[in-house]
């Protein structure tokens, strides 16, 4: 046939090039050969100019058989022709097959995803001409009598196996969302069939992993010969279905859609080996085309006798019948467009996901065709997993030119789409991130986890170029792991925050930004913003008009984008108040409520916040409290689990170590560096693995330890008449302990985890919540913005002032300055102007006096 649309010869299998009619049933129909000849000589009128020579010249059956020896031989196209275009399967299967009314009654729907007409004939090896080689013979002896051309697939066995799979496969440990609501101890797919009979959506999604677990051989066949095996599956499932539910009415026959083929994960690794195989790749949709109506079946009518006939499309071509079978007029048939059958088709372009790409290269793109109901399933921007068949088509030969471009066009015929970010949008539960780790990798990670000093190792691997600050790195490490997600929605409290929030504050130039940049680079879903440059809208979400569809769309900002990740906010203190107020909701409830332009919604923002703030006076003033230094509202500060100060320690030994560290940076070769530290990739995998698979729960002892710790914390304060711990601190402790257990890959939170959580928490408090006046740790600095001693002191001054005024006797008005001087003279501690003002204000609040300008009047 004309155009060279066949797949590259190296891996091509025999296929029938001839559109056939239902009449031509019968195993290995001998007449086909003849009819072919006719077709190619007289047909092809409609399109394609091309060289008919190629097909006619191609070798015939005897040669074909020689290739059965191996599963992926290169088989020249064979001319054997058979079977109805409307039915799957092969003549034999239909002959022996169940003539149940259900199957017969429901129309089959074409599967363009498998290639329009790819009904491969079966070959009876034993009846083949004797040219079959030894290998083929031995295979025949093995009992596989009938196989599909070019493959080692025996339809009967294959069907039987698949039916057995459907009936028996149970996966009790299944966690996939597709199986939600199914009884895991019953055969999974039978339940799905039942669902189909109820819902009436005739699509059965089958996980290839399940097939593999059930029968590795069947899986191999499915991967290698999808276009032969999937129709067989279809056949099998339909028989089974209509046997079970003979009365159900479906729009068309059930189609099997396999997914999760393990063949290929990455677009970059696609190579010629994968052509015509079932593959699964992940990527991001970047463009979708308009809907393309593709002719599936052409309807011809004879202009002379009105006899009509249907011709099926074969690989994008239609062979117009040259002779009317009814009246034998030649060239009398005309195409009737509106009685022809069309199917939907859409071109989708996907691009590698940014995570899969090696550094320094641009992403690859691949063209995907979606058919029928897969059209418009995905939108640009979606992250998807695609299962489909990889195809390569040579560039069209040009009739006017003797040479062709030696390049193939490649695309994927999609069979199954699965959105990977679906969960994030709908926010059901748990992460879907299906990061797969190879066995080896898991082994390395586990080995690493078994080391006693894994915690120290990991924390030192974090940002190795930043010197010391061990506790801060540990804190960030725990943040990267996060706590266990708990759901209390039944009891009405909703989700508990599992993310750890950290605030770093300190002198400028203490590499805070560097730490943030490092974290942002480390985690897959990290966002980096600077407080100065971001508005509330940029952090949350904004509504804009889509230039193409003119619809209002919600564009998400940094906080929503870093759902399940970490949002790094630099220059936290420079943020405007309105922007900061957005964070209140995010940092405790982990959601974002939006009411804009008619869109009211609540988005998930389960993000950990890592913020950095500079002191107001550009240099940290050790005489002031944290709140005074960074001027942040305490409501916000109390939402941080850990607040660290990054200060210049100013001590000689430290300086020396720092200098050594820096100098070594400047001459060490790259290899030396790598030896010293854990690879960033290992660290990343370690974190990803722990986040996905480890969900530690509190053990009995650990809970006891936590309770004790909390009670202790409360006790410290109560001795001095102040509250030193709040339930928020207890929650922080729990989160930190859980994160530490994750670091150890432990499913149980033990006492050591609690110990470390306590230690870290205390360290952070020591740094940030120490009352500069007393030297005690005072949590109320963070929770109320003022230390207890400061409050006490303020009261004292007010009382002293009151006494002073009372002592002065009945003077209705006093000079402000005079009063201040008097108070200073009287008090044994220094009274600042601010303190004095505050005292005045306190007294004014009591309605004792008023201050107008420079005079103070008594009211009483």
């Amino acid at each position: 046939m004309s155009s060279p649309t066949s797949t590259p010869g190296g891996r091509k299998r025999g296929r029938n090039t001839n559109p056939s009619t239902p009449s031509s049933e019968g195993p290995i129909s001998p007449p086909s050969q003849k009819r072919r000849g006719q077709d190619s000589s007289t047909g092809d009128l409609m399109q394609m100019p091309t060289s008919p020579a190629t097909d006619v010249l191609s070798p015939s059956a005897p040669q074909d058989t020689s290739l059965f020896s191996s599963p992926r031989p290169s088989v020249p196209p064979n001319e054997v022709d058979m079977s109805s275009p409307l039915m799957y399967g092969t003549p034999s299967s239909r002959v022996e097959g169940t003539p149940r009314s259900g199957v017969r009654g429901t129309p089959a729907r074409q599967r363009p995803d498998l290639g329009s007409v790819r009904k491969a004939p079966q070959v009876d090896l034993q009846s083949e001409p004797p040219s079959a080689e030894g290998a083929a013979a031995s295979e025949a002896n093995a009992g596989q009598r009938l196989v599909i051309w070019g493959t080692d697939v025996n339809v009967g066995t294959c069907k039987e196996k698949f039916q057995r799979f459907l009936q028996r496969f149970i996966d009790p440990s299944s966690t996939e969302d597709e199986n939600a609501g199914l009884d895991l101890n019953e055969p999974l797919y039978m339940q799905k069939l039942e669902e189909i009979s109820v819902v009436g959506d005739p699509v059965l999604n089958v996980s290839c992993l399940h097939v593999q677990a059930f029968d590795a051989e069947l899986y191999r066949q499915l991967i290698s010969y999808p276009q032969e095996v999937i129709p067989t599956f279809d056949m099998a499932v339909n028989e089974l279905f209509f046997e079970r539910f003979p009365d159900s009415i479906l729009e068309f026959q059930i189609q099997v859609r396999p997914y999760n083929a393990l063949k290929t994960r990455n677009m970059r690794s696609l190579n010629p080996e994968d052509i015509d195989q079932l593959i699964t790749i992940s990527g991001m949709v970047i463009r979708t085309s308009q809907l393309i109506p593709e002719m599936q079946e052409a309807f011809f009518q004879c202009q002379v006798c009105a006899y009509s006939t249907r011709v099926e499309v074969d690989r994008g071509r239609i062979a117009e019948p040259a002779v009317c079978r009814h009246c034998n007029t030649t060239h009398s048939l005309a195409l009737i467009h509106n009685r022809s059958l069309f199917s939907d088709k859409q071109m989708i372009k996907i691009q590698e996901s940014p995570e899969d790409m090696p550094a320094g290269q641009t992403p690859h793109t691949t063209i995907v065709y979606g058919h029928n109901d897969l059209v418009d399933k995905v939108q640009p921007g979606d992250r998807i997993n695609i299962t489909g068949i990889y195809r390569a088509v040579p560039m069209r030969a040009n009739p006017r030119q003797s040479n062709v471009k030696s390049v193939y066009k490649t695309h994927i015929d999609a069979i199954h789409f699965r959105k990977t970010d679906e969960k994030r949008l709908h926010g059901l539960d748990e992460e879907t991130e299906q990061k797969l780790f190879t066995e080896d990798r898991v082994q390395t990670l586990k080995e690493l986890a078994a080391k006693p000093d894994v915690y120290e190792r990991l924390s030192s691997a974090l940002a190795p170029s930043i010197y010391e600050h061990e506790d801060i790195k540990k804190g960030i490490l725990l943040q990267l792991f996060g706590g266990t997600r708990k759901d209390f929605s039944q009891t009405g409290r909703g989700h508990f925050r599992a993310e750890v929030n950290i605030l770093l504050c300190g002198d400028p130039g203490t590499s805070k930004s560097q730490l943030l940049q490092y974290v942002f680079n480390l985690v897959p879903r990290g966002q980096y913003t600077s407080g100065k440059g971001s508005s509330a809208v940029g952090l949350t979400a904004y509504v804009m008009k889509d230039p193409e569809t003119r619809q209002l769309v919600l564009q998400t900002g940094a906080l929503v984008l870093s759902d399940n990740g970490i949002c790094c906010i630099d220059e936290f203190d420079k943020m405007s108040d309105s922007t900061r107020s957005v964070l209140h909701e995010v940092m405790e409830q982990q959601t974002l409520s939006i009411a804009k332009a008619g869109i009211i919604c609540q988005l998930n923002a389960r993000t950990a916040v890592l913020a950095a703030a500079n002191p107001v006076e550009s240099q940290w003033n050790p005489k002031k409290t944290t709140i005074e230094n960074i001027q942040l509202p305490h409501t916000l500060l109390s939402r941080f689990d850990l607040i660290f100060l990054m200060l210049d320690p100013q001590d000689e030994a430290y300086d020396r170590r720092l200098a050594h560290h820096l100098v070594s940076l400047y001459y060490q070769s790259e290899e030396q560096m790598e030896e010293e530290f854990l690879d960033m990739a290992v660290l990343r995998d370690y974190i990803a693995y722990a986040r996905t698979y480890i969900n530690p729960r509190l053990s009995e002892e650990a809970s006891q330890a936590l309770i004790e710790a909390y009670v202790d914390m409360r006790k410290i304060g109560s001795g001095r008449g102040m509250v030193s711990a709040y339930p928020r601190q207890l929650e922080s402790l729990i989160r930190l302990a859980e994160a530490h257990a994750k670091v150890r890959f432990s499913e149980k939170v033990e006492t050591i985890d609690v110990e470390e959580a306590k230690r870290l928490h205390r360290e952070a408090l020591k740094q940030s919540a120490t009352d500069p006046r007393t030297g005690f740790v005072d949590i109320s600095i963070l929770t109320t913005g003022m230390s207890a001693t400061a409050r006490k002191r303020k009261e004292d001054v007010a009382q002293a002032l009151k006494k002073l005024i009372q002592a002065k006797g009945k003077t209705p008005a006093m000079k402000y300055q005079q009063l201040l001087d008097d108070l200073r003279g009287q008090s044994e501690t220094a009274i600042t102007k601010e303190l004095f003002d505050e005292a005045l204000r306190a007294l004014a609040d009591e309605d004792y006096l008023t201050v107008t300008g420079k005079t103070v009047r008594l009211l009483a």
Partner: protein
């Protein structure tokens, strides 16, 4: 190796065919590796690579199709890999005999392909879109041209003679002897420089108009030269975007390529919806006419450490004689350069010192995300009279292999595309001015900044510049996400006051010229410019200094540590870790500029000294200005 591969430059395909044919009898002979090996061997021979014509210098229409050419280029974009017929079978129409043919290194098959043949082997290759190194300075380009001319291989000589008439007699002479004669040459160069620059700053539109409707996607506006689709057959993972390479490959300009594209436009796309999956733009970008964008089938590519043709092309370590001779001269050349720069920078020797350090800086490694070795310099206090900054740029341009002048005018910032952006319609990476090769000098002229408002693009551009300076990376815009590409660009910011962009070190130029004489002084700067031979020396000096290895001995480490501790002891505020970082970079560059490959105590002290000088000058200036740093 079979037979005499006589004309491997003119008909490399014959060599390939021959080896392919030979391999047919003995399977598993690994003929593909042999082909590559053969060409590598040939090129290794003395001066062999000089006789290969270069696509950079010789206009495309003088080059013979299917001959071996070389191309010095930057990988601007990477297209998707393509599958092609590695081996295919043709049927001879007359004899009906099937013949196996090799499809490697070719775009088009021969007639009568049997598409259903079982012997077809599908193979994979990768296409890179390559452009000439952006901002390559004309003086360098022309000197490299002189080296190529003695090509014995390529014949259409009539026009060619006239084409390079002027440097006729230099052709065959080796580098050293040629230098003194090229005096007049450099005058022309200077002329060329300013011309070229005017184009860059003013009118990017002329180029696009002349290249008809096809945008060749050069990173910098106003660039000229051929761009090329390079087909890579092996090991394409090792190449990265923005790598500079010298590609040796087979030139393919078969008109069939464009003809095929035309056909498609005309007829078939209407008939067959499957063909129309590529948009017209995509077609145009991915298969432009071969006469405009030739195809180059790569046989061998050499990554370039530098694009300075004055330097021996192989690495320095292999060439110890050259290295030692340059090293011994380095101190003197440096002194020369310092005097020259002092003169140019209005008599300020400290600024001159820092300018040298800046010009030889280079990111030598990255510690997780921290680039080490970068040294962005901010020269503040530049006079705004008599287009001083432009003059300064011209002087720097003469000295470095590639450079770009970016006037930070409001219009430029708001309108220029600095960051490359992926165009999904045409499926290509639309280049931006920050897509530069390694060690390109980017000259940011902040004196051009005027009052006004930056719009969204402007803010994004300024952020991009800031990121470039502090992290040496550019976030390319992929619409749905951004992707980070590390780069290695020397950024020099000249400004009146302190720059609004971050910088590693800021030097306030102290003019020793009285303001009334300024104009006069400036206009005479060019009079003192070095001669061409001197210039060449300076160019070699700058490149070599950048490529030297560097180490710090344990003793010096110790003394640096002591110094640091002592300084901190006296006044902890005086020096922070950040400052130590800076000092170490200065010390590194200073000793490299002197040709010393390890840090000595003296150099360290000197580094400390000039840093102290710089800081005190900054303090002074801060007081005067009252500006918050």
């Amino acid at each position: 190796m079979p037979s005499t591969h006589t004309d491997w430059i003119n008909s490399p395909l014959a060599v390939v065919e021959e080896m392919f044919a030979a391999s047919q009898n003995s399977p598993n002979s690994g003929w593909e590796a042999k082909v590559v090996e053969f060409f590598k061997e040939q090129l290794k021979e003395k001066d062999a690579h000089i006789s290969v014509p270069s696509l950079n210098d010789v206009p495309l229409h003088y080059l013979k199709p299917n001959s071996l050419v070389k191309f010095r280029c930057l990988i601007q974009d990477m297209f998707d890999p393509e599958f092609y017929m590695g081996v295919y079978e043709t049927v001879d129409a007359s004899t009906k005999a099937n013949v196996l043919r090799c499809g490697k290194y070719k775009d088009v098959t021969e007639c009568g392909v049997d598409l259903n043949s079982s012997n077809t082997v599908t193979a994979e290759r990768q296409t890179f879109y390559c452009v000439p190194v952006p901002g390559e300075n004309p003086c360098y380009a022309s000197s490299s041209q002189a080296r190529v001319v003695p090509s014995t291989s390529y014949v259409p000589s009539r026009q060619k003679r006239s084409y390079e008439d002027d440097d006729d007699d230099m052709d065959t002479q080796p580098q050293k002897q040629r230098e003194p004669q090229s005096g007049p040459h450099s005058l022309i160069e200077q002329q060329g420089n300013s011309d070229c620059k005017r184009q860059e700053t003013e009118a990017p539109s002329t180029q696009t108009a002349s290249a008809s409707h096809i945008d060749l996607n050069f990173p910098l506006p106003g660039e000229k030269g051929p761009s090329c689709l390079v087909k890579v057959y092996e090991d394409w993972e090792s190449f990265k975007l923005n790598d500079t390479l010298e590609v040796y490959g087979i030139l393919s300009v078969s008109p069939a390529l464009s003809a095929l594209a035309d056909e498609k436009d005309a007829s078939s796309s209407v008939l067959d919806p499957t063909e129309s999956m590529e948009t017209a733009e995509e077609q145009r970008v991915h298969s432009p006419p071969a006469s405009l964008v030739p195809r180059l089938h790569m046989l061998y590519a050499k990554p370039l450490q530098h694009n300075n043709p004055l330097l021996p092309s192989f690495s320095l370590t292999d060439n110890s004689a050259f290295l030692s001779s340059t090293l011994s001269e380095m101190a003197t050349i440096r002194a020369e350069l310092l005097t020259y720069f002092t003169h140019v920078l209005l008599g300020d020797s400290l600024a001159a010192e820092y300018l040298i350090l800046h010009l030889i800086s280079s990111v030598y490694t990255r510690r997780d995300i921290l680039p080490l070795g970068k040294f962005t310099l901010n020269l503040s206090g530049c006079p705004t009279v008599a287009s001083y900054t432009e003059r300064l740029y011209q002087i720097i341009q003469q000295l470095v292999p590639s450079s770009y002048y970016l006037g930070m005018s409001l219009q430029n910032m708001n309108q220029m595309r600095l960051v490359p952006k992926k165009d999904y319609v045409a499926n290509r990476l639309v280049s931006g001015a920050l897509q530069l090769a390694r060690n390109t000098s980017l000259f940011l002229d902040e004196t051009k900044l005027e009052q006004g408002q930056l719009d969204t693009t402007g803010v994004r551009n300024v952020t991009a510049l800031g990121n470039l300076i502090s992290w040496q990376k550019v976030d390319y815009d992929f619409n749905y996400h951004q992707m980070e590409f590390p780069c290695n660009i020397n950024v020099l910011v000249v400004s009146e006051g302190r720059s609004l962009l971050p910088s590693d070190s800021q030097v306030h130029v102290q003019s020793h010229v009285a303001p009334p004489h300024m104009e006069e002084y400036l206009s005479s700067i060019h009079m003192h410019s070095p001669t061409s031979s001197q210039l060449n020396k300076l160019r070699i000096y700058l490149c070599v200094a950048r490529l030297l290895d560097y180490s710090i001995s344990d003793e010096v480490t110790k003394s640096v540590e002591d110094d640091f501790v002592d300084m901190r002891k006296d006044d902890p505020q005086s020096i922070s870790a950040e400052d130590l970082h800076k000092m170490l970079v200065v010390a590194r560059l200073l000793s490299l500029s002197l040709g010393q490959t390890s840090l000595s105590r003296d150099t360290w002290l000197k580094a400390k000294h000039i840093e102290a000088q710089r800081r005190s000058r900054m303090e002074q200036h801060k007081c005067v200005n009252g500006n918050e740093p």
